[in-house]
Every structure is written in structure tokens, then in C-alpha cells.
Symmetry: C2
Subunit: 276 residues, 2 copies
Amino acid sequence: MTAPLTDLERLCVHTITTKSWDIETAARKFSAAGVKGITVWRDAYANRDIKATGQMLRDAGLTIVSSCRGGFFPGATAAERQTAIDDNRRAIEEAHELGSPLVVLVCGAVPGQPLAQSRQQILDGIAAVLPDCEATGVKLGIEPLHPMYADSRSAVNTLGQANDMCEQLKSPLVGVAADVYHLWWDPQLETEIARCGDIGALFSFHVCDWRTPTLDLLNDRGLMGEGCINIRQIRSWVEAAGFHGFNEVEVFSNRLWAMDQDDYLELIIKAYRQHV
Amino acid sequence: MTAPLTDLERLCVHTITTKSWDIETAARKFSAAGVKGITVWRDAYANRDIKATGQMLRDAGLTIVSSCRGGFFPGATAAERQTAIDDNRRAIEEAHELGSPLVVLVCGAVPGQPLAQSRQQILDGIAAVLPDCEATGVKLGIEPLHPMYADSRSAVNTLGQANDMCEQLKSPLVGVAADVYHLWWDPQLETEIARCGDIGALFSFHVCDWRTPTLDLLNDRGLMGEGCINIRQIRSWVEAAGFHGFNEVEVFSNRLWAMDQDDYLELIIKAYRQHV
């Protein structure tokens, strides 16, 4: 069995996890608590100087792990798809300014449009923005989303599909963001994690938990240990696949957002040591 | 493109769809509306003579398509698993009394128990009740459930897994209940439907729709046409795989259960003609 994490060197917390804190507060609190990495929701630097915000995070001793999010490439019309491409180009440029090495992609889907068509539009959209990645060095992480989001959030719903897309796109700048919440149920998970490592595409690893019952499709994730996911086993698979980056805590939860966020950060760190 | 269904000869409605009607009312209303098949939730014949209930349905001109449900084989202890096996034996005996040829299985899962272990317990549980199927002729339909139910309702979450289980169990009495709600997102769906037909395991076909947004994980299904599933395309795949049985309307919906159920039955029939 993979050993517990005894230090916080690889702990990253996503700004969405402590949503009510602005980015300056998050930076100060995370740093004081010993968190080493931060992933930044694009909303978190709205109305701020992005370069200065990146410097502020680095000055707080935090590694910027990724920014979030690009994607939503499918659209019913060419104009909608171009709007999405333009927005992704901005996301890449913003990541470059912030000093974030990776933009996580929630790839998108159009309700009622055949999934195969949305998947092709995702491939086309990523290909269209790859020159921006090459110019800046910013990478893209395709995040396969749980099948319950296939209607409107992502037509990429398994790690196998994300791996296939990486192989088709053949760029060292395109890989995968693997999140236990989306992937834990998949009987092919161990195999596809190994494959993802083999093709050099395992860019990031997100943790949280699946609660029973889950009361809301979007905002009822659990903190690690509150649910049924064997997170440590999945971490052992990603590490066996060669991943030794940050373990990123990304929790969307109305329940946990309503807590005192200082208390919550303590819980996050405790849960990280016990369950990741 | 597969043609619309111009008659109701293959329309089956599940008693859960019009939950507030008792089985006598459902039989009378379904029959008067031209519905030809009925699937019976086990609760629907509680406190009734099961044989007489079956006769009542046949007298109303309805074909009993299946009874629902067995399953929930996984358990943390041997005693719990034996309780599940005993309950499934009762479900098979009840189906035999009712005159139902098929028991649909919601296979079960134990939150936190490794999915591979639950899957093995499901295989073991089905094997344990197969003699009852052989004695009565009642078949079992493994229903792969959407991955959002992998925590507590079913560790069988893709048609590929259900097909694998049928191949392992090697019994002509064990097959699959394919429901568009659970399976529509799967990139392997067309392939696995064809395989299911090839191995002689495609026992039933359930229709409803996936709404955007879906407000509840259990009871917010859509009527056909209210959501994003291309039901007719999936029907074309099951028919190409050799299935020509009933198209079974199974809708769990707090919203639709709250409607006048006579009006709702009219909508069901209209939706069946337009979208199945």
C-alpha cells in the first residue's frame, strides 16, 4: 500500500475550494498553513493586474500549478466555436502572464448535438489554439468529466477518450488533468492511467471525494475521506505512471463553502494527510 | 434514419412511470390508451395475490414485459449477501407467479468497498440464484447503471461490463436491460450494443431522456424529447443488433409524477411516437 503523505510539499489547493476568499486572502492563508501549490480560477484574478497577481502568489511562496479553465469548444455555429477559440487564446495568454504552466480544459458539449460531433469540435478547437501554446510554452490539460456532465459540460467522459485525443493531437503541450471525482468508477482506470503515463500525458492530479448520497450534481463534492473513493489507491496508480507533481484539492461544495474557511483549511490539510 | 413508430404495438410502460396509479388503475388506463406492455415494480403487487394480479394484467390485454427489481448483491458481510440472494430468489418466484419472463437487476454496490469486489459479489450472487431461473424459466437482465450510481446502486456501469458478465456466466437466462438514460454518453455504446446482440444477451430496452440541467440524481429524468439523448439512433442500434421487443418507458420524475396522470399518459404516447 502506498504510504500516507507525511509533508505538504505536494499539496495544492484550488482557489475554487475556498471560494469566498479572494486570491490575496487565499494566498496568505494557504502559505501560512504550509500549502505549497495553488491553482487559480480565472475569476480569481478578474479586475486585477494578472502579472502582479502571479508575482504576489510567488512572493507568498506558492507554486502556480495551473489555471482554470479553458475549453467549451463545441458550438452549434461556426461563430460560437470561434468565440470559444478566442476565449481559449485569452486563457492561454492570461496563464502566460500569471506564470501558470497549464490551462485545464473543461472541453464542453452542446445538449442534443451528437457527442461524436462535439468530440471532433473539441479536437479542432484544441488544434486551433496550439500555436498559442507553442508561442508561450503554456500546456493544456484535457480534463475528462464524469458522464453526468456529458450533456452540457464535456463530451470527454473517460480517461481513455482523453488519452486517445492526446495521441491524435501529438503535441507535448497537450495532456490530461485526471480528477478522481470524474474517473473513480471506471473499470479501465488503472490501465488508462498507466497508458497516460506511457504517452507522457499525465499533467495533473485532482482529489476530492464522492458522497453518498450526492445531493447536487455540481456542488456537493466531498472532502477526501467523506466519500467512497479510494484516493490513495488511485494516487498509487498515478505515481506508478510516473506522476510526481502536486496533489490538487478541488472541491465544489455548497456545504463546505458555508463553513468558516479557516476551519475548513485545517480540515483540508488533515484530510490530505489521512486520505490522499 | 430509422422510421418513427407508427403504432403502439411495442410500447411498454413501467408502473413506476405513473407511480401514483395503483396497478389496477395503471392496467385499465394503459389498456384504454393502447399501451401493449407493462413492467411491474415489485411494490405494485404488494399485499395482493400475485398470480391473480398477473391474470388481471393479461385480462386487460397487457403483455407483462418484466418485473423490477432484483439485485443489490454486494454486502459487507456474508450474512448481508445471503439476505440479498434470498430476496432475489423471492423476486424470481414472484415473477414466475406473476407471469413475468424477466427480472431486471439493479446490481448493487457498497459505498467504499472496492468496485472490483462488488462486481465479483454480483457475479457470485447471480450464479447463486441461477438454479431458480432454470427451475422457473424466469430470466435475469443485468441493467448497467449510470456511473453516477456507482457508489451505492450498481458497480456495473457500462454495457461493456454487463456483456463481460454475461459471457462469464454463460447462461441463456442471463442478459442485459439496456436503458438509454444510463448508457447514452458511452463512446463504446454502438459497438457494445452490437456485441450484446451477438452474444444473445439483449433482453430489454428502456427509454426516457436526460434533461439539462438535471436537478436531482434520482428523480429528474425527462420524458422522451425533453432532453439530449438521440433515442431513435440508439433504437436503430438495438434493432440492428436483433432486438425487436418492447420499447419500455421508465421515467423517474418528481415533476412528471406531480402532473395529472391522465394528461401525462397522453404525453407519453405522443413522445413515444415523436422521439422513440
